[in-house]
Amino acid sequence: MKPICLNAFDIISLSPGFDLSGLFEKPNNQKAEARFTTKNSASAIVSKLEEIAQMERFNVKKKDGLVQLQGIKLGRKGQLAIEAEIFEVTPTFHMVEVKKRAGDTLEYQNFCTKELRPSLKDMIWTWQGEQQQQLPQPL
């Protein structure tokens, strides 16, 4: 499990201030991605994701810093597929990017809010979710 190392410019380029796609998108466009940081090791993150996958009936595929979850149940737009990519900021600090790969965006968001985020609660240092609809949740 070898996550990609982020340098200062990688981190800087995460800013929404650099993201000109806002010029082309309609308001309230729900982005199907979220980001969180953690002080846990990459392998601890992967184990936790595998645990969640098992509970929620997802198949798991791992490769380098990428964990892919493929839903078994059929949702509104087919099976939900989610990807979590782990990046190393320092050996004791990682950033994880969670993205929807396939399936219904609403189902993805429900999964993140109701299953993923609560299960990861102890690991999460900060969470950057879909900005418009951030539910106030005590960390």
Binding site: C5, L6, N7, A8, F9, D10, I11, I12, S13, L14, S15, P16, G17, F18, D19, L20, S21, G22, L23, F24, E25, P27, T37, V89, T90, F93, W125, T126, Q128
Partner: protein, 213 residues
């Protein structure tokens, strides 16, 4: 100053000919016309003067005109080529052209270098990178210790700053980016490929038929 738009009776200040703009950029004439539709809506959102000011720019990106952001400011300054405090249509098209997936890498490398060179000294200094890093961490509410921040800067500069003088010059940047192409990800907007479908232009005096693009 070229022709003016026949739709409505608004004459846009400094309206540049779509054909000329297309020839200077990666865009086709249809795409420039589509960009004009986008430009019209952004430039009229706060003050209807045919120019994009900082507030309108912030509104377009963040959906919040009052949101100040170091990085959006840098982009605005880069687009505002003549440093007048507003972006005209020519500036808009020529700057966005660099973000097109087909734009040459050299343009993207050049733009990103200037973007990060906050005080325009011709070097990206460690202090500038630190300032941007701190701004990002603050805005995303990511807390890192001073020690961790220095480690990240050390690592970045050991890779990018070839003569280890604490600053990244243009050649250093070129080399660094060529080795790490993901650093140019911010410089490409895939949306620009579909601009004629996202912003269909109902231009009555469209130049498309007159010129073989």
């Amino acid at each position: 100053m070229g022709c003016f738009h026949s739709k409505g009776s608004k004459q846009y200040p400094v309206f540049e000919d779509p054909v000329a703009l297309a020839s200077q950029t990666t865009f086709s004439v249809s795409e420039v016309e589509a960009l004009f539709e986008l430009y019209k809506s952004i430039s009229s959102s706060v003050i209807d003067d045919g120019l994009i000011n900082k507030e309108e720019f912030q509104l377009a990106i963040f959906k919040n005109g009052k949101k100040e952001n170091l990085f959006a400011n840098r982009i605005f300054d880069m687009f505002d080529v003549k440093r007048k405090g507003f972006i005209d249509f020519g500036d808009f098209v020529r700057s966005l052209s660099v973000f097109h997936p087909n734009a040459p890498a050299e343009e993207k490398i050049d733009f990103s270098f200037k973007l990060y060179d906050l005080d325009s000294t011709g070097f990206i200094e460690r202090q500038e990178v630190k300032q941007m890093l701190l701004a990002l961490l603050w805005e995303s509410e990511m807390k890192l210790t001073d020690e961790t921040i220095e480690i990240i800067l050390d690592k970045t500069f050991s890779e990018a700053d070839t003569n280890q003088d604490g600053k990244i010059d243009k050649i250093d940047w070129q080399t660094y980016v060529t080795r790490n192409p993901s650093l140019l990800k911010v410089m490409t907007l895939p949306y620009l490929r579909d601009i004629t479908t996202t912003f269909p232009s109902f231009v009555f005096n469209s130049k498309v038929d007159e010129v073989a693009t």
